[in-house]
Structure formats: C-alpha cells, structure tokens
Subunit: 416 residues, 2 copies
C-alpha cells in the first residue's frame, strides 16, 4: 500500500456533520430519530443519500426491495465489489447512530478516497439495506435476508405492517421499488461498521470491537385467548385473565433467559389487549417474543423451555396460548480472514480493541451466510440503543470509520 | 292494593321484544352490543327510548349530563316520584342485558300500568343514566355520581376519553346536553333491576337476588417509566423493563385480592406500551387498576398492600411507578326498608330468592347515599357479563321486571 493510503484518515468533522445534518429526517423532540422503514422520513433520507452518492461519483441503483447500492469503480472490474454499509431506518423511538453511522461512514470513506485520489483494485459498493430494524415489518434485516435467499422477494413484498400496508405498497408510495432483482448485485465480501448497542467496550475502555460472532434470534407471534368478564363481579378463582397469563409468560421468559447467565436474552416487546376497558378482565392479547443466544444449543433450550412454560401456564389458567415462530436466525460466526483484517486495521491504526459478540442482529450477519463478512463496533454511551438517548463520541465514530476504511482498502487493494 | 294491582304481571313477550329489538343499536357480529356512552349508537337508542317514553305518555326531560327522565304522574304530585331505571350504554364488547334490562323493564312497567289503567299515589320517574359503564370516560356511574354530589357537573363535563374528546363535546355531538341542572329531578326513593353479572343465583338456582349491599370500588391510573433499550444487546441484569414490572404488578394484584378469599377482587384491565417494537425493551406503560370489596377495611388493606407491593417491585427493578387513585366508591348498604320491600315482592310473587351483594357498581349504589334505594337481581348465564356472550332467560327477565314493578307499586302506592 502506498504511504498516502497507509496514513489515510477520514474527515472526522465531515462525518460528524453528515450524521447530525441527516438526523433532521425524522428528528424527535427528545433528540432521537423516528424514521420507520419506507416512511416519508425514510424517503427524505434516501433522497439525500442518493444525491450524496451521485455527487461522490457513485453509480446508484435500487433493487426490488428498495435497498440502495452506490458503486465506485475499481481498476479490476472483472470481480464483484467489496460491499460496505448498513441501514438508514430507525426504531419508533430510535437514535442517531444505529445503522446510520455505518452507512454514512461508508460514504465518508468514498469521499476520503476521492479527495486523496486513491483508486482501488476491486470496486467498492456502498449499501443502504431496507428495513434492518424489523419494527414496522418483520423480520429484521429483511432485505439482506431476501438477498441471501432466506425469503423470496414476493414473500417479503406481501408482508404487512400493523396498519395492513404491505412492503410493496410502502415501496411504491415512496418511489423506492427499484428495477434490479434482489441478489443481482454481487459482492466479493462485506464489511459493516456499527455502534456496539451494548455496554462492554465502554466498560472496558476499548475503542474498537472486532466482531467475530453474533447472536442467533428467535422471533415469535403469540396470542392469548382467555375470557372477558366483569372486573367487579367475577370471583378471582373463576377468571381466565389474558393479562395475568401474559404476565406469567413475561416473567417466565425473563427467568429462562437469566438461567443461561450472560449467554441469552429474552424480551416481550409488544403486547396489545383487544377491546381494553378498566372494568373488564382482559380476554385477548396479541404479543411478540424476541429471544437470542450466540449458542445454537442454548437457542434450542430457549425455545423448548419457553414452550413448556407457556403450556403449563395455559393449562393451569385454562386459557389458550398460540405461539408461532415467525423468524429464526442462526448464530453468526464471521469469516475468520475478514475478522483478522478488521483486527489488523485496528492494530495498525493504534486503537485499543477486543474481540466481541454482537448482541444485535445486522445485515452483515445475513450476508456472512453467502460471502465472507465482518463487522467493526465502536462504543455507545452506557450501552444504550433503541432509545432516543443513544449517543456516541465523534472520536469513536471517526476511529470506527478509519478501521472500516482500512479494512476495505486491505480487501480491495490499492491500485494507485 | 286492589286485586287487579296485586295480580298484575308485566308482558314478558313485549319486554323480551324491546330488549332484542333495541340490541340492533350497536349490535356486534358475535351477538353482543358495542354502545359506548354518548356515541352514535348511544344516540340511536336514546332517540328510540325518548320516543317510546313519549308514546307511553311520559314527560321526558334531559339533564346537563345527558341523563334521561320520563315522568308518569301520580295522584299526589306534592311528593317526588319513585325513581326506576338503569342505563343503556355498554362496554366495548358488552352484552344485551347489562343496564338495558333495568331500563327497558322500567318502561315495560309503565306500559303495563297504562294498559291496566292503574294510577299510583306517588308519581314514577323512569331513568336512563349517562355513562354507567365508565369505559369511555371515568368514573363509572358517572352521571349518578354527579347527581349525588360526588363530582361537580363542570368537572364531569371536562373529563376526556382516550381520543381527547370531552364529555361536553360528546354530549353536544349527539344533541343530548339537556337544560335541566344535574340533581334537579328529585326522587322519593330509587329501585333498579339488573342482571347479577356473577355466578351465585344460577349456581343456587334462585330466580331473584334481593340486593342488600354492594362492593366498594378503587380505580387507579398507573404509569411505569423504565428504560427503552435493545432487546438483543442489553444484558438481562441491566434491564429496566416496564412490561416485566407491570407483569409483577398484575400478579401482585391478583395474589393480594386472592388473600382476602371471596371478599375482594382486583384487575388490571388496560395496559398500553408507549412506542412498542419487537426488539425494544418496553420503556413506558400506562395501565389501570380496578379493585373492590364490600368491606371498607379490606378496601383499605387492598390499597395499602398494592402500594407496598408496587414500591418494592419498583425499587428492585429500578423503575418509576406512579399510581393515582382516580375514583373511590365506598361499599353500599342499601336501605333496609327498601330491601325488605324487594324481598316482600319476590315472596308474594312466589319466586325463589336470596339476599346478595352486588359485585358490580350500579347507579342505585350512588343514589343510595342521598335517598333510600334498592336493587333486584336476576341470574345471567354462567355469571358472564362485560362479554358479548352475556345471556339471560326470558322467564328470569320477566320475573325480575315483575318484582321491580311490585316493589315500585308498594313504594308509590296504588290510587285506583
Ligand atoms: N442492529 C440492530 O439494532 N438491528 C435491529 C435488529 C435486531 O433486533 O437485532
Ligand atoms: N353494572 C356494571 O357493569 N357497572 C359498570 C361499573 C362497574 O361496576 O365496573
């Protein structure tokens, strides 16, 4: 690598500026971002991103699920590009960094290479994957899951949000149903920068997380059918209370996850009582379950223990509980050669680092099933994410972007 | 009492017909009724009721909270009438009898007296009280609570539903904000017929419940503030999960109520997660609590135990829980002379009967604080109420209406 390339640093202030400028698209009063996938706010940031890519000389195209790809040519166009990026959608009460840092750092890398006049051997393709968050439409990492063939494009296009709007309708309504078939854009390998979304790097005072693995995920849709009756006149022993049933399930999930110590988590994130009323015993509740582990055997145990607990609770309370697995993502083991490349970049740049497991799911986890992939983490304040208070420092964001760029340069090769 | 009056029976088929004809106003596909107070459906049944009262020769007026009064003159107009009636509003997924039976039986009684040409000494006033259910606006038995002075009319007019619509706006929108000041219509005493809404009469095969008491009610609004964070990357011990907190509160309420055996009940009927998402640990939940006992000392214990349990749970889980008492109704002890009158009527008509405590609240419970009041119960199927499957037999409805009529005749006196 040339001396110029070896010492190359991204423009920290410019990266910080784009993060904070684009946070206007869906800004919330509490300083967070609400930019649900394929919403009007998502269209705003997509339009901005397309223009920024074009201004950086990239050739932009959009696939049938709305994922955006910006190609920077390399000297050797016979090989697929190195993919770099993340997502620009957020949770309903999300932060300014989750996904966004990784996508805008990819753009910053291109701008830096342009400024330095650096050509790479392989082309580079920066990506904005549709619906990584999974909050409006399930599953999470939706577009990359279709990309790797876990779901067909038609299946995904027909998925509905809580209002009954399909992915297809949502794409059309913001004009982001592209022409390119999902999967046509090939990659040689893929690298993603992200905030850790957990407390480990901060606690250990490390700047870079070299992500070598990721938790597997189980997502369920649940429905409890008890019996509505009068809150005043129905004796306690005769009740078939759907909310008391849910309460036991929530606490069972919690203790099942805790049983596996730090190796598992379990959460009920959504619960909606049908026709709620103060003086009516809840009769019907829809809920979701999210549980995870990096260990496939523990994932099986979580599923088994949760189902057994629910069966016992339902029988004892004489209620009906349905639990449908709607998504299963196996644990991720990132490509060892790429993990080493990330570690080398961090070492060469002199950043403190450690290997780490991702608690969250990422598009890179999906992509790793069909190509070599890896990830770079940077700390976030108090490990907080999926919260409007999500925060990270300018220095850590820049460090992560530098590690990302040097990993990509190592993978793509410098031509000039 | 004349022989004609002694043997008088209401028209069972006509009563049954009006119950089932008016069930069209807000009919649900499952055979129930959704007729939230002051809704378009409530206007429909009110318009029907006004016309039916006028056709029965009653002088109808409406008070400032929309309660409807139909006066049948007596020979002695120097005394206030005997009040009879109940309510025509329902729960979101309510039945065809709760409140409706009592209101339409009062109308049926007037029709029967008219047909038999019977004049009473005292006048009779049949009533449809606004918002007995308390589902759209709190508290329940709202209009009768204002009638007895527990709340001012202005306070009640400013109460809001979940959409922010005030009682005043809702009254105006259906044209039922009347001219009469709340409380102007005086009564000598008040009698209300209702389905039991509990399982006792059916289990003991009794036709009539002679209601001598009613449970007191505590209603609370609660709010849990935990901390939203990522469902995948937040370790279990670091969570401040609002839904796990609620779950412990729900189960604590259940066991506190059970501790008092059949003498108490406790229910969480509403719980709403703010900004729910599958992969976000719930950070904020609003909920309601309804707990009851016929024993004032037990009500105090319920309040104390619930607050203590919540304080312990909140401290342990490092979350904030607010619990505001929004309504407290003391236990009811109905007027002994009127309770005897109900019992005498049941005995004379040859119906099996027993004394009973009302599990539910009723307008008669409020009215009993300022005038002698009593209630008649009839069985309902499996004790089910606040459910679209609520059911009762024609024979039991007719028996209840006959006991109601003969109680009223005993109180009003027969003139001719
Ligand atoms: N990184 C991230 O927050 N992804 C959302 C999908 C998940 O729940 O893990
Ligand atoms: N009777 C009846 O269901 N009343 C509603 C108020 C209550 O008791 O919750």
């Amino acid at each position: 690598m040339s001396r110029a390339a070896t010492n190359l640093q991204i423009d920290s202030a410019r990266l910080w500026g784009t993060i904070h400028d684009t946070a206007q698209f869906g800004a919330t009063p509490k300083g967070g971002v609400r930019r649900l996938t394929l919403s009007a706010e998502d269209k705003q940031v997509r339009d901005w991103f397309r223009k920024a890519c074009e201004e950086a000389g990239l050739e932009v195209h959009v696939d049938a699920l709305g994922s955006m790809f910006g190609l920077r040519k390399g000297r050797d166009m016979s090989k697929p590009p190195i993919g770099v990026g993340s997502h620009l959608d957020t949770q309903p009460t999300g932060g300014k960094y989750d996904g966004i840092l990784g996508t805008l750092a990819a753009l910053e890398m291109v701008r830096t290479l342009n400024d330095a006049g650096i050509e790479t051997e392989l082309p580079i393709c920066i990506c904005n994957w549709t619906n990584e968050e999974g909050s409006r439409f399930a599953p999470a990492m939706m577009a990359s899951a279709a990309y790797v063939g876990d779901f067909t494009t038609d299946d995904i296009l027909s998925r509905k949000d809580a209002e009954g709007v399909t992915v297809a309708q949502a794409l059309d309504s913001i004009g982001y149903r592209g022409d390119a078939p999902v999967g046509r854009q090939k990659f040689t390998s893929f690298v993603e920068l992200h905030i850790e979304q957990g407390p480990i790097l901060e606690a250990e005072n490390k700047t870079i997380g070299v992500v070598d693995s990721g938790q597997g995920v189980l997502w369920y849709d649940g429905k409890i059918t008890g019996f509505e009756s009068h809150a005043g006149s129905t004796p306690m022993p005769l009740r078939r209370d759907a909310l008391a049933t849910l309460s036991e399930i929530v606490l069972a999930m919690e203790s099942i996850a805790k049983k596996h110590g730090p190796k598992a988590v379990g959460t009920i994130g959504e619960a909606v009582i049908a026709a709620p009323s103060r003086n009516v015993i809840p009769g019907e509740i829809a809920f979701t379950v999210d549980c995870r582990s990096a260990d496939a055997a523990i994932m099986d145990a979580l599923d088994r223990d949760l189902r057994a607990a629910i069966a016992e609770i339902a029988a004892r309370r004489k209620v009906d509980v349905k639990l449908d697995l709607v998504w299963r993502k196996a644990p991720t083991h990132f490509d060892p050669r790429l993990v080493d490349a990330v570690e080398n970049a961090a070492t060469q740049l002199g950043y403190s680092h450690r290997r780490i497991t991702s608690g969250a799911g990422h598009d890179a986890c999906n992509l790793n099933t069909v190509m070599p992939a890896a990830m770079v983490f940077v700390p976030c304040k108090d490990g907080i994410s999926h919260n409007e208070l999500e925060d990270a420092t300018q220095a850590d964001c820049a460090a992560g972007a530098n590690v990302l760029m040097h990993t990509v340069l190592a993978l793509a090769g410098v031509a000039s």
